[in-house]
Symmetry: D2
Subunit: 100 residues, 4 copies
């Protein structure tokens, strides 16, 4: 039980960035609610699309922060503890998936 809790701490979003990430998620939620409002109110489609593009960019920025924390902790630890091949494959997968 203790061990499991501890493992979570290590592998999840680091405490130092979690607050920032959740704050960004709040902003993204609000921005997306704004897109919904624009659709419901019949706003001009290109204006809706521009806001939707901005939401995606905000999500990308949040992802970069999660990734930075992950590199600083799990990846560094993994490489130092003999799981380098796993770390390399994971990074390549994320790099490829990040943009489809």
């Amino acid at each position: 039980m203790e061990a499991a809790g501890n493992k979570q701490e290590v592998s999840g979003v680091k405490d130092e960035v979690r607050e920032d990430v959740l704050k960004r998620l709040n902003y993204i939620d609000g921005h997306l609610a704004g897109v919904r409002r624009m659709i419901e109110e019949g706003k001009y489609c290109p204006d809706i699309l521009k806001q939707s593009f901005a939401v995606r960019r905000a999500i990308e920025k949040m992802e970069a922060i999660i990734l930075e924390g992950h590199l600083h902790t799990c990846v560094i630890d993994g490489v130092k503890n003999g799981r380098e091949e796993q770390m390399v494959q994971e990074m390549l997968e994320l790099y490829t998936l990040a943009n489809r």
Copy 2:
């Protein structure tokens, strides 16, 4: 007043696709709530990132549907009614902004 209401109908997300778009937005909201839960529960960062990538792809799909409706209505109308240069510039702007 009538005219304004009518103009909204023309320029906003078409009725035929609005329901689909709002349904997708509900799905995106739920998916994003799932990402938040994963962060709060300390899930493994690469798993969080993969879900966040999927959210962006769902948003892109929604955007394509909004765009399709816009092309079918406003752009076609605009080209036929002498606003072709405006339509071309708008499409180029969306094309460029769509991926930054």
Copy 3:
């Protein structure tokens, strides 16, 4: 023969932009040759990658110029001549394919 030649003129890259597009293609060729040289000379991988990213951005810029010419000519003509559905589908396909 005449008709075919004429059709080519209409459907291909417009004369007004062709020179610009070919000039950009020359630049892209040279840039790509630079990437090859960096690989052969054993340059640092991140520096090679940054140049390769720049090549892709130059290709994207060239594509935007080809697209602009296409919208101004073929798409406008198509919409005005009853091929609007074909034009819409073509634009959606390009929009989707442009980023995979």
Copy 4:
């Protein structure tokens, strides 16, 4: 001289992947020459664009292979030799630049 040669080996595209990377570069050169031919012959713009998109995807695939070699060698070495912060920043920079 020896040292410089040795440093090149370490920092550049690894011997094991260099041949593959250069072969891909040849393919990309040929593909790009095909795009030029299509432009010069007045081919239909959307067909030109689709080939240009394919060139970019081939470049991205080449980049992924260069990156994989870099992760396996320089990044692993860097992390193990106390330059982890530099490696993390470099990876974040590449991740961000890769798609603008």
